[in-house]
Amino acid sequence: MSASSPMRLYGSIQLRRNRGLAGLYLVVAAFLILYAMLFPGILSIGGFSKFTQNWFPLALVTMAQALLMLNGGITLAIGPLVSLGAVIAATTMEGALGVPGGILAVALAGLSIGAVIGAIVTHLRLPAIIVTLAGSFIIGGVALILLPRPGGFIPDWLSTTLAGHTPVAFVLLVVILALWKAFLATPLGLGIYAAGDNPVGAFRSGVPVERVKVVAFALSGLLAALTGLFVAAQTGSGDPVIGTPFTLNSIAAAVLGGVGFLGGKGTMRGAICGSLLLSVMINVMFFLGFPPVAQYVAQGLIIVGAVAVPELLAQWKARR
């Protein structure tokens, strides 16, 4: 065995995982080229920054959702968690601890709420979809109590740093993806896939299935709450219902990206690509002057198409 063997194995595994996503990459590339042709402004630094800032929140919530779907779960509490993150950011940053305190508060809230939901799902053996549904009422209620109407305070410099004319959001996304990659290399990160694919087998191989699940929920909560922080910085204030559309969009983007519902199937890069596709489509439709309602219709058709076309192709191939 040569020294390069593990590297080659790694490369060939990654290549195989990319193969299933080739179609998605092509579609995303086509949409991006179309977008650049329609709006050449994206090729400037400012235009690129604005474009990635539009996409960034959806990318983060899609990661939050995909993380759970890979582990065999799902959450309907993404939207309220985004709202809560925005509200906490907007109400704590004028306090004594300032911006660092605010960021810490948002992160802690996301982590702990996610961990509590995860603990309830795991240890009380309740279905995730119902627990997160009930949780979404509670989290949304807390956001409404903390900030009954849009308002609060986000320092201007934070808004300009995160959502100004520099691609900070894109850099952050790259950093977060790198962290995910590093996390996947740890036993706990690998356990997320293993427990999602085959919980019994993973348990017998020594994966702490229950702890893995709680960690997945906690990290997912953290990502969703941080999305709220970014959205608050983007708009300059907190809004207790701003996250609502993110719940369904996060599921749609993850599914577009090839993440399956049964756990263990799919990749984070696919999910990110799915969120990019959804974001570009919404942007293109908006700029082409589609009324917002037509976007709903198109979105419904696209979601079904994205799942059905590969399936039909596979059936057609199998029949020949």
Binding site: L126, I138, G141, V142, I145, P291, V293, V297, G300, V304
Partner: protein, 313 residues
């Protein structure tokens, strides 16, 4: 002794017990809660959830989920007034057309799930998104008032003092219970939910039964939409939204496994009543919307602990 013990392991019975307990305690502590008129009103509200949850129960028993229930209710409530022709004094034509549309939407959900192999949760989610856009295009933002006599009769009539909605719910309940527990097709739904592979190998057609449950779910959501329209006398965009989550919650509170294969509509009935009772109690407390939302979520979670636990792996 054994019968008593098995009764306490029976989720539908437990849910019913919980409803009875809440009603008795609330009647003694809250003025007006136990009045016949108020309890009847609660049942009438529960009827809408119960009918919408009838289809949802079937879909969940088969291991799916229907996220388009709310959208179908809205579609029915908005389109029915538009499709009720003036030359028809009974209003039955409008009802038939609206039910046909709702059933057709269910059939399309089923076709997507069965032929395109789109997971039901995605198919019905996409359908709901699609309908939401379509409705705003059709109806704009304004509410439509219903003048269809049959719908108004369904919403307001009280033969023998019992609201027509409750009678309709009774009929639906009996039909669903017979379908699930006394007919072969119900056994096929349960078999597919419990173990799709084994059921398919035993000759149960996945395609046909998937089409069937989703079509039925569309039909019952349409029926719930007509009842809501009759009680409200107005249809507007968003009228069906509250019924999506409550229909799922009613099924799960009734002890039906969200994974399919195990459960009964007999549990969904007290589940629906429990949800309406919970909402009524929260309204009595007179809290802010935020606190109301927190209480609702906490109560659902607490009720789940009593009745909705999945079996140990």
């Amino acid at each position: 002794m054994n019968t008593i013990r098995s009764a306490f392991r029976n989720p539908p019975f437990l849910t019913l017990l919980l409803v009875a307990l809440v009603w008795i305690v609330a009647s003694f502590t809250l003025r007006g809660f136990g009045a016949y008129g108020h309890l009847r009103y609660l049942l009438e509200l529960a009827a809408v959830i119960g009918i919408a949850a009838a289809g949802q129960t079937l879909v969940i028993l088969m291991g799916g989920i229907d996220l388009s229930v709310g959208a179908v209710i809205t579609v029915t409530a908005i389109l029915l007034p538009l499709f009720s022709p003036a030359w028809d004094p009974t209003g039955l034509v409008g009802i038939a057309v609206a039910l046909a549309i709702a059933t057709g939407i269910g059939l399309m959900n089923g076709a997507g799930a069965a032929y395109l192999r789109v997971p039901p949760i995605i198919m019905t989610l996409a359908m709901a998104t699609f309908l939401q856009g379509l409705l705003v295009i059709v109806a704009g933002g304004s509410a439509v008032t219903v003048s269809n006599p049959a719908v108004i009769l369904l919403g307001q009539a009280r033969p023998l003092g019992i609201p027509a909605g409750i009678i309709l719910w009774l009929v639906v309940s009996i039909a669903i219970l017979l379908l699930v527990h006394r007919m072969p097709i119900g056994a096929r739904f349960l078999a597919l939910g419990a173990n799709p592979l084994a059921a398919r190998l035993s000759g149960v057609s996945v395609t046909r039964n998937t089409l069937m449950v989703h079509t039925l779910s569309g039909f019952f959501a349409g029926l719930a939409g007509i009842l809501v329209l009759g009680m409200n006398r107005q249809g507007y965009v968003g009228i069906g939204d509250p019924y999506l989550l409550t229909s799922i919650a009613a099924v799960v509170l009734g002890g039906t496994s969200i994974l399919g294969g195990r459960g009964t509509y007999a549990g969904t009935i007290p589940g629906a009543i429990l949800l309406v009772t919970t909402t009524a109690l929260i309204t009595v407390v007179n809290a802010s919307p935020g606190w109301r939302s927190i209480m609702f979520g906490t109560l659902i979670l607490a009720l789940l602990l009593v009745s909705g636990r999945e079996a140990r792996r």
